[in-house]
């Protein structure tokens, strides 16, 4: 029982990070019908940025968090404006956009290695205590922070998308770009903001996972690829599906690693991904967007 609680908490913490990545995938897919492969490596960059602000510059945790988010937002926004929009204007085949995001992910991953280091950097703990007791089990307080903060991100994102002016126009632009344009919505700006937000939430995922796993160059690329499993499981393009899918993926993966074999851990996520694609490509939330690519 103790082991189960322990696994559920670590699983949810990991799942929270997956959710953040998957939500980025879904937002981008909804807004521009594209798939990005740079999301995972933006998480790495975010983790390193957070590390720099928090450990090297000794800024308060919350300031480091906000700064990282802002920098990542700018990175995502520029990525859309500088690369994706240029390619879309040239009317190229979708494969070039996929390849461009992969090239960007190489640049982020190897740039991070060049700027910081190729070692595993330790991320200083956020709280003064090493462990807190939950239901009689000692857990790392950072994993609770990760669960809580990713939940808060999801709720904030939900309100942002449904209650604010920018969020509403983003949804309108995603639904029908031409109609939105004729209503006076700046679709190009909105797509840029969407990519920025996707990058921002991936980057804070990096900060949350840092204290638990350490920060290293290939941290994000694995998470990024597995995040696709979460997004597809929930229904690709559905924001709420991505949240549920990501949490579920983290939970199931940790349970498989705990009870069956830790070697199956990575295999499991990809098997889930391929099974969902073949059997139920619309995911749990039955998102239909997947049909009309």
């Amino acid at each position: 029982m103790r082991m189960l609680i322990q696994l559920i908490i670590t699983g949810l913490a990991l799942g929270g990070v997956y959710s953040l990545i998957s939500m980025g995938y879904s937002l981008i897919y909804k807004a521009s019908g594209l798939m990005t492969f740079a999301q995972g490596d933006i998480l790495t960059v975010g983790a390193f940025l957070g590390l720099t602000f928090y450990r090297f510059l000794k800024l308060p945790y919350i300031v480091a968090l906000l700064l990282t988010m802002a920098v990542a937002f700018i990175i995502g926004f520029l990525l859309e404006k500088g690369v994706i929009r240029k390619l879309l204007n040239k009317n190229v085949n979708a494969i070039y956009i996929v390849l461009a995001t992969i090239a960007v992910s190489y640049i982020f991953q190897n740039g991070a290695q060049a700027i910081w280091s190729s070692k595993v950097e330790y991320f200083p703990s956020v709280f003064s205590t090493d462990s807190v007791a939950v239901l009689g089990v000692n857990v790392q307080p950072e994993s609770l922070l990760c669960i809580g903060a990713s939940m808060i991100c999801m709720i904030l994102l939900h309100f942002f998308m449904t209650k604010t002016r920018i969020g509403t126009s983003m949804r309108a632009a995603a639904m029908d770009s031409m109609a939105a344009e004729s209503c006076g919505i700046n679709v190009s700006l909105n797509t840029g903001i969407t990519w920025g937000i996707a990058a921002g939430i991936a980057a804070i995922g990096g900060i949350f996972i840092g204290p638990m796993y350490g920060v290293y160059v290939t941290l994000g690329s694995k998470l990024g690829t597995k995040g696709f499993a979460g997004a597809v499981m929930g229904g690709y393009g559905n924001m709420y599906g991505a949240m549920v899918g990501g949490l579920l993926l983290g939970l199931l993966e940790t349970l498989v690693a705990g009870y069956i074999s830790s070697e199956l851990r990575n295999l499991f996520a990809y098997i889930i991904l391929i099974i969902f694609l073949f059997v139920k490509p619309t995911g749990i939330f039955n998102e239909q967007a997947i049909q009309d690519v």
Partner: protein, 327 residues
């Protein structure tokens, strides 16, 4: 006219073959340079195989490193445990890969572009995980897999120049096979599917069947190339089969220009030389490679063949304008 064009193409091919035959002489017999040339032959076959899938039938795969692995490990394991000579097991492994490709394509054929790439990525990762955690450690897991180099019925290909000529023969054979496939009824069906899947289906093309064939053919090509790698180097490491490798195949195919005979060859030569040249930058190799890749994608989507076509079209247009003015 058609005859003239045909003989022109034939002439180009002959010139290419003659130049290719002279490569070891031009490189001064340097063993390292010849090794690079051997890799070029291997990558040409892989990129051409992927071209059948993407360039002609319009399906994307971001996981062809899996077939590369199946070819390499398959050929190695068959000859190690069943005692089949490596040269024969190369073909068996490629056939197995084609079968696996067909099995994968059966459910995957209904997926559209992005989701097909996700499915193939997942497939690639699954194969990678199996190779690193094989049952009974038959693949040597992270230690890698050792095997003696290729010999063809007693003819030992023990140096890179010999292997290069073997690779060249393979390239010519595979390219002839590719040309025959894409010019046949099957190839026309591929192109119809690429241009418009619904219309092709309406015209009575069995879309799923031809998508499966395209997958199987490209898996055969790539797996054979993978087994050639084993024959050349005699050692396999699982990290060669990461997703990076699949992206490399796609890059080579696109850089040269897809849906052409020369494209994958040009792509394989230029990317391989580029990567070898960037080796001097050590840990910055991939960073510079990423930046160059991004610049090329943004500056000239369509690859080298596409860029040459554009330039040709530009010259023709200018000539036409001149003529217009003169008239």
């Amino acid at each position: 006219m058609k005859n003239k064009k045909l003989s022109g193409n034939l002439l180009k091919c002959l010139v290419a073959v003659v130049v290719a035959l002279l490569v070891p002489v031009l490189l001064g017999g340097s063993s390292y340079m010849c090794l690079v040339a051997c890799f070029v032959t291997i990558y040409t076959i892989s990129a051409s195989g992927l071209d059948v899938l993407y360039g002609y039938s319009g399906q994307i795969s971001m996981g062809h490193a899996a077939f590369y692995a199946i070819g390499g490990y398959g050929a190695g394991l068959l000859s190690e445990y069943l005692g089949i000579p490596l040269f024969i097991s190369m073909f068996i492994a490629a056939a197995i890969a084609a079968l696996i490709g067909a099995l994968l394509a059966f459910p995957a054929s209904k997926l559209k572009f992005h989701f097909l790439s996700l499915a193939t990525i997942a497939f690639g990762e699954i194969i990678y995980q199996i190779v690193t955690n094989s049952p009974g450690r038959i693949t040597g897991n992270y230690n890698g897999f050792f095997h003696s180099k290729l010999d063809i019925f007693g003819l030992k290909l023990d140096n890179n120049i010999k292997f290069y000529y073997f690779g060249l023969v393979c390239v010519v054979l595979f390219l002839i096979a590719k040309t025959m496939i894409v010019r046949s009824r099957t190839g026309r069906a591929f192109i119809a599917i690429r241009e418009n899947t619904q219309a092709a289906e309406g015209m009575g093309v069995n879309v799923r069947k031809y998508k499966i064939i395209a997958f199987a053919v490209s898996a055969f090509f790539v797996a054979f190339a993978g087994s050639m790698y084993l024959g050349l180097v005699g050692y396999l490491h699982p990290d060669m089969y990461l997703q990076k490798q699949s992206v490399l195949f796609v890059t080579m195919m696109l850089f040269g220009g897809s849906a052409s005979l020369a494209g994958p060859i040009i792509g394989a030569i230029s990317i391989e030389i580029l990567l070898e040249g960037l080796r001097t930058f050590e840990e910055y190799q991939m960073l510079i490679y990423g930046i160059l890749l991004l610049i090329v994608i943004v500056a000239m989507p369509g690859g080298i063949v596409g860029a040459v076509k554009n330039i040709k079209a530009g010259i023709l247009r200018r000539r036409a304008q001149k003529l217009d003015k003169e008239v």
